[in-house]
């Protein structure tokens, strides 16, 4: 269950990471907000993703 939650958080952070520049391209978001949003989503990605991907890699290599 925890793995599912962290996966959802991970992929959501990536989706938001690219959503901010898309909103900037559309002219509905300022650059400073984009930079801040991308930084926050970067932090979220690098906290959430190792929780499931690190172990998944090990399981994969063992199998």
């Amino acid at each position: 269950m925890q793995s599912i939650i962290t996966r959802v958080v991970s992929w959501s952070s990536l989706a938001l990471l690219i959503l901010f520049p898309l909103l900037y391209l559309a002219g509905t978001m300022g650059l400073e907000s984009v930079k801040l949003g991308m930084l926050v989503m970067t932090v979220v990605w690098f906290i959430a993703t190792p929780m499931w991907m690190w172990n998944a890699d090990e399981a994969g290599s063992k199998s």
């Binding site: 990536l14 690219i18 901010f20 520049p21 391209l25 991308m38 990605w45 690190w54």
Partner: protein, 485 residues
């Protein structure tokens, strides 16, 4: 060019501690198509992409030349993996090293490893250069300009030294943890590269006041503001459609036509899995190059006098700290395996030295190279040289596998004759490089194009020289005797 030229990196053959080094990969270990998609997409999105894209703009490319040239060139690269490399890999299922050892003999393979290792060192140096430009944003020391060949400030030297020593120490300690981190970072990095392009595009729209209501409007912006064509910047070679196409095709020449990726595709179930390389080409060598080039074009748009190609400041201006982190991570995660693999290549030459020492010394050599901005600033030419240097051995493998028996000659001759140095292959390598050098020096052919005729020269030379060499040896000792050992 990615964890490799893109920066991309083939394992130096023979020393890597992989599986099935001296036997065909058994059926139970074959991998599915998806494994190769992930590997190529991740490996071809490297720190050096942030140099190559801007250097296209500095070379005065036009919109049509860069976009269509990249599409065609990358397609040719994918076809090269699919039709030249993967079919041999899935038939022999051997590493490049073992395949070369059977054909060329152990001593010649050692020389090949040395050449590969040296090129890896310079490539890793360029990656360290890219990462060090990020430190310049924080510490504000003078950084190299587009035409600088030597380090231009103490701050720059210290920044490269700090980054290089850190990367070297991690590589020497074993790069398994960094490889895992690289896997985690890869999807994030790809999206940050895409973000660079989107943000740069918006910046251009705002700065030029362009109205984008149709694809034609967008193309107009591309061709009149971003990739305008015209004269290259001072000290740069003018890039046309042919330059872009050949560069995109040959920047990974060592891997496809040069056959380094035999070691990768020996695990593939089918040879068409070579098409998985498209994921790397069209993410790293299309999207990432174009995105990085948009950032540089915008920098030139704002200040035409600011021709510095510095990924750190460009990324920071576009995406803030996330962009800066991307530059560091992209440089680090790709320099690390490159140094590790260069170290393994050198260790094949000095096997008694501890791997830690060899890798650390290799990393320090790469760090020294990274202090000289000439390699990064002349990356287009360096990458072309890298492919050219290893290309002849790819032609040797191709001819040895598909053609040589049709001419009544032996394939895998070094193994059959128990030679440690197949002079036919060694001379083919040397003479082909000589021919390429002559074409560049005396015929005025640019290095970006010379590898194509070079491949045919190598193929023909190997056939002719093998005929002479094998018949001479046969006269000295009949093949039945050679086979019996």
């Amino acid at each position: 060019m990615a964890k490799a030229v893109d920066t991309e990196v083939a394992a130096p053959e023979g020393a890597a501690g992989g599986e099935f080094e001296r036997e065909p990969v058994p059926r139970r270990s074959w991998l599915g198509f998806k494994s190769f998609i992930g590997q190529y997409a991740g490996e071809h999105c490297a720190g050096t992409e942030l140099m190559i894209g801007p250097l296209f703009v500095a070379a005065g490319v036009s919109a049509f030349d860069v976009i269509v040239g990249l599409i065609v060139g990358n397609l040719l690269a994918v076809l090269s993996w699919m039709l030249l490399c993967a079919p041999i890999a899935t038939r022999t299922r051997l590493t490049l090293y073992y395949q070369l050892e059977l054909i060329c003999g152990r001593k010649l393979v050692t020389i090949y490893n040395l050449a590969n290792g040296v090129m890896f060192c310079f490539l890793a140096g360029a990656m360290i250069t890219v990462s060090a430009t990020a430190l310049g944003v924080w510490f504000n020391f003078p950084m190299p300009a587009l035409n600088d060949l030597y380090p231009n400030s103490m701050g720059w030297v210290l920044a490269v030294l700090a980054v290089g020593v850190l990367i070297s120490l991690v590589a020497a300690s074993g790069y398994r943890v960094v490889a895992k981190f690289a896997n985690i970072a890869a999807p994030w990095m790809v999206l940050v590269f895409l973000a660079f392009g989107l943000i740069g595009l918006r910046d251009f729209i705002v700065a030029t006041g362009a109205q984008i209501n149709s694809p034609a409007d967008l193309w107009h912006l591309f061709s009149t503001q971003i990739w305008k064509g015209g004269e290259p910047l001072e000290g740069q070679v003018k890039f046309t459609f042919m330059h872009v196409m050949f560069f995109a095709w040959f920047c990974n020449m060592a891997m496809h036509i040069g056959m380094s990726d035999l070691s990768v595709f020996r695990f593939a179930r089918k040879s068409w899995y070579g098409s998985a390389s498209a994921a790397g080409m069209f993410v790293g060598h299309f999207m990432a190059w174009l995105a990085a080039s948009i950032l540089y074009a915008y920098q030139l748009h704002l200040d035409p006098a600011n021709t510095d190609v510095l990924p750190g400041p460009m990324a920071y201006n576009a995406a803030g700290i996330a962009g800066l982190l991307c530059v560091i991570v992209a440089g680090w995660t790709t320099a690390n395996p490159t140094i590790y693999r260069a170290g393994l290549a050198f260790q094949a030459i000095v096997p008694r030295w501890p791997r830690f020492t060899v890798t650390l010394l290799t990393g320090l050599l790469a760090t020294l190279a990274g202090m000289f901005p000439a390699i990064a600033m002349k990356l287009l030419g360096f990458v072309a040289l890298y492919g050219m240097l290893l290309m002849p051995m790819g032609a040797v493998i191709f001819v040895d596998f598909w053609l040589i028996r049709k001419f009544g000659l032996q394939s895998n001759y070094a193994a059959i004759s128990r030679q440690s140095f197949n002079w036919a292959a060694g001379l083919t390598w040397l003479l082909t490089l000589g021919a390429c050098w002559a074409l560049v020096t005396y015929a005025g052919m640019q290095i970006f194009f010379v590898s194509l005729p070079g491949w045919f020269v190598a193929a023909a030379l190997y056939l002719v020289l093998s005929g002479l060499y094998q018949r001479r040896n046969l006269a000295a000792a009949p093949m039945s005797v050679l086979k019996e050992g």
